[in-house]
């Protein structure tokens, strides 16, 4: 029932011995749109690292080479479906039209970075590991109860599958037949802990069987394989087939975050090998082989993404300093009276 350890679904070949496959129903325009998404995320990630080094954003969770997992899966969903990201997917909202400045503001710790999930169908960034899995499941279950055709997808890493929240969320998803997709980006490292120390199971997809849902393994750097697996999962969800667990496998080829030094634990030769097959270049070469992408179009797409980033950081930095009143606002719809006294005191002390 479940794929074996070495059995990863793959569509994109290597231009040599491994032949290219195709995904039914994707037009050249679709393929280019997918590529645009990949480049936007890649550019966001690479520029963010620069902005961090320039002191323009704070600590940042790098997602280099995770772009295919994010862009491929989101492309398989409808706009009404909801995305529940972890911090590794902090910029996934860009694929839904969220302004670059919003995400950068989040990493700058400015209130402008906290969005309304209803505007984009993108829930807030979940910082604690796996605790958003039950949210995605509750959302999907609750939408189905209301007769609404909405699928949810929760993104989390390999380490998250050790958490109780993952287990409880997956259990509910199975029992409630929630139209949810549990998307695991298995980059084989939870900071310094390898996946072999997360579980004695041969694969993470194996866990799915215990929750009564299908488990699928795909090559996480193959955007088309990710797309196809997610499209199948979404179709199953919409037709009452319940949840799917997708394990997308890559190898983490960047630090966990800007505060991390992986040289003390990671296999650097393996990182170099992974970098040669990184997902954006790999898809670009595939598109060139298929005659869908030319160097000039690729350049145009890159320039467009860079321009978005340039504008985005300028906008984020132009945000006025937040009003201290925001410390107190929004925690309650109907706040306890003590908060008003606290604000008054703070204003007096700050002279604001």
């Amino acid at each position: 029932m479940l794929p074996a350890e070495g059995d990863l679904r793959r569509i994109i070949g290597d231009g040599e011995a491994l032949p290219d496959g195709e995904v039914d129903g994707l037009t050249p325009d679709d393929l280019l749109a997918l590529y645009r998404g990949l480049v936007l995320l890649r550019t966001y990630d690479e520029r963010s690292l620069v902005y961090h080094r320039q002191g323009r954003i704070g600590t940042y969770a790098i997602f280099w080479n995770h772009e295919a997992m994010q862009a491929g899966s989101v492309f398989a969903l409808e706009g009404r479906d909801w995305i529940f990201p972890s911090y590794r997917e902090s910029a996934i909202g860009l694929l839904r039209g969220m302004p670059v400045s919003t995400v950068l503001s989040w990493w700058r710790g400015h209130p402008a970075g906290w969005w309304n999930p209803e505007d984009f169908g993108v829930a807030s960034i979940c910082v604690p590991i796996a605790t958003h899995v039950p949210h995605a499941v509750g959302f999907a279950w609750g939408s189905a109860l209301k007769g609404e055709d909405r699928v949810s997808i929760a993104y989390f890493g390999d380490g998250a599958t050790s958490e109780g929240s993952f287990h409880e969320g997956a259990t509910f998803a199975g029992v409630m037949k929630a139209p949810a997709i549990l998307f695991c980006n298995n980059n084989q490292w939870a900071i310094s802990t390898p996946v072999s120390q997360q579980t004695a199971a041969a694969t993470l997809a194996e866990k799915a069987i215990g929750y009564g849902m299908p488990g699928v393994r795909v090559d996480g750097a193959d955007v088309l394989a990710v797309y196809e697996a997610t499209r199948e999962a979404a179709a199953r969800a919409r037709t009452g087939g319940g949840p799917t667990f997708i394990e997308a496998v890559t190898y983490r080829s960047a630090p966990h975050g800007t505060a991390d030094d992986p040289s003390t634990y990671i296999d650097e030769a393996r990182v170099e090998e992974e970098k040669e097959h990184e997902c954006v270049g790999r898809f670009g070469r595939y598109l060139e082989r298929r005659g869908v992408l030319t160097e000039s179009v690729a350049e145009e797409i890159r320039t467009e993404a860079l321009e978005l980033m340039r504008t985005g950081i300028v906008e984020a930095e132009a945000e006025p300093p937040p009003d201290p009143a925001l410390v107190f606002e929004h925690a309650y719809a109907d706040p306890p009276p003590s908060l008003a006294f606290d604000l008054e005191e703070l204003r007096r002390i700050l002279g604001a």
């Binding site: 309304n116 999930p117 899995v133 959302f139």
Partner: protein
């Protein structure tokens, strides 16, 4: 007005609120088919169906975590935690998400969920069926907490909790689920959050309590008749706290004894004492004394009567403050 036990008043409130608002949904362990281990949810599944009174897997963090998602999908979930101490696995969701999510959306999304649970001891139960965990909840920003002591308040505060736009936790004193019947208003009945209640008028000392301890305080007041006139203030809501009612009562009596079943250190009684120190210290004619559970695990039930604040311990505290 029918005479109801406290647990029947809870059940009544749930029936009324599910009838009134089609987005209200009850979920928890054994709440449907069985009607809850205390029968608080009896009859709901028959009346409203399996989708609005949901038997969940045995997973408290899953219950509260999916409730967050249910809110996002437009529901108003009422989660039952089967017992006080069984709620601890759900604190992960409470602290990480329930109290923070509205703030994260900068007030754009509401999370109007309710958590209700039986709490407290005195029922000769096994370990972890007798805790008073309210402090963990009160201490969590973004979360409100109510604790009724009477059947009518149990109905009215639960209705207020369900209708409130913010997450509210309601602790029900399980010892008093079926001790006394009281007239409870029929149909829709709401007791607003944040309003304390003078359960007994007095002039010499204020006994401050909530939940099961209100009953102890009332017995203390009776025991002291002829010796001292004790006022009993039932806080009803711990957050938002009705500070004005607290200060007004103590201004009148000049003395306060705060009774709490939970362990002492950083318990809610300490908060009450701090409010009195900040707002009423010049009205006090003696120290504010706390009578609480001890700072140990809730004991084996053959010893629980030595742990739960008793009439004798509270009377002793009142005499000390009167002598000061």
């Amino acid at each position: 007005m029918p005479d109801l036990y406290l647990v029947e008043a809870v059940n009544d409130a749930l029936h009324v609120e599910l009838e009134r608002d089609p987005s209200v949904l009850v979920l928890g362990e054994d709440v449907g088919r069985l009607g809850g281990v205390f029968r608080a949810t009896a009859g709901l599944q028959e009346r409203f169906g399996v989708d609005r009174c949901v038997d969940t897997p045995l997973a408290e963090a899953g219950i509260l975590g999916t409730a967050v998602g249910l809110c996002m999908a437009g529901w108003r979930p009422v989660c039952e935690m089967q017992y006080d101490a069984f709620s601890y696995p759900a604190l992960d969701q409470l602290i990480n998400h329930v109290g923070r999510y509205r703030w994260r959306t900068r007030g754009k999304m509401s999370f109007p969920l309710t958590i209700r649970m039986p709490y407290g001891g005195g029922v000769r139960a096994p370990e972890l069926h007798d805790d008073s965990p309210e402090t963990y909840y009160v201490h969590t920003p973004g979360v409100k907490v109510a604790i009724p002591s009477t059947p009518a308040d149990a109905k009215g505060l639960l209705a207020a909790a369900i209708r409130d736009p913010d997450p509210v936790v309601v602790f029900e004193p399980k010892l008093h689920y079926r001790t006394t019947k009281e007239e409870v208003p029929d149909g829709e009945y709401v007791v607003p959050l944040g309003q304390a209640r003078v359960a007994r008028q007095g002039t010499d000392v204020t006994l401050v309590g909530y939940g099961a301890m209100v009953h102890v305080a009332l017995r203390v007041a009776e025991a002291l008749e002829g010796e001292a006139s004790a006022e009993v203030l039932d806080l009803r809501t711990l957050k938002p706290l009705d500070e004005d009612a607290l200060v007004a009562s103590v201004r009148k009596t000049g003395r306060a004894v705060v009774v709490q079943e939970a362990p002492r250190v950083v318990g809610f009684a300490a908060e009450v004492a701090a409010v009195l120190a900040e707002r009423a210290i010049f009205d006090l004619r003696g120290p504010v004394i706390r009578v609480t559970g001890y700072d140990v695990p809730y004991p084996y039930w053959q010893l629980e009567d030595a742990y739960v604040p008793s009439v004798a311990r509270v009377v002793d505290a009142v005499r000390r403050v009167l002598a000061a």
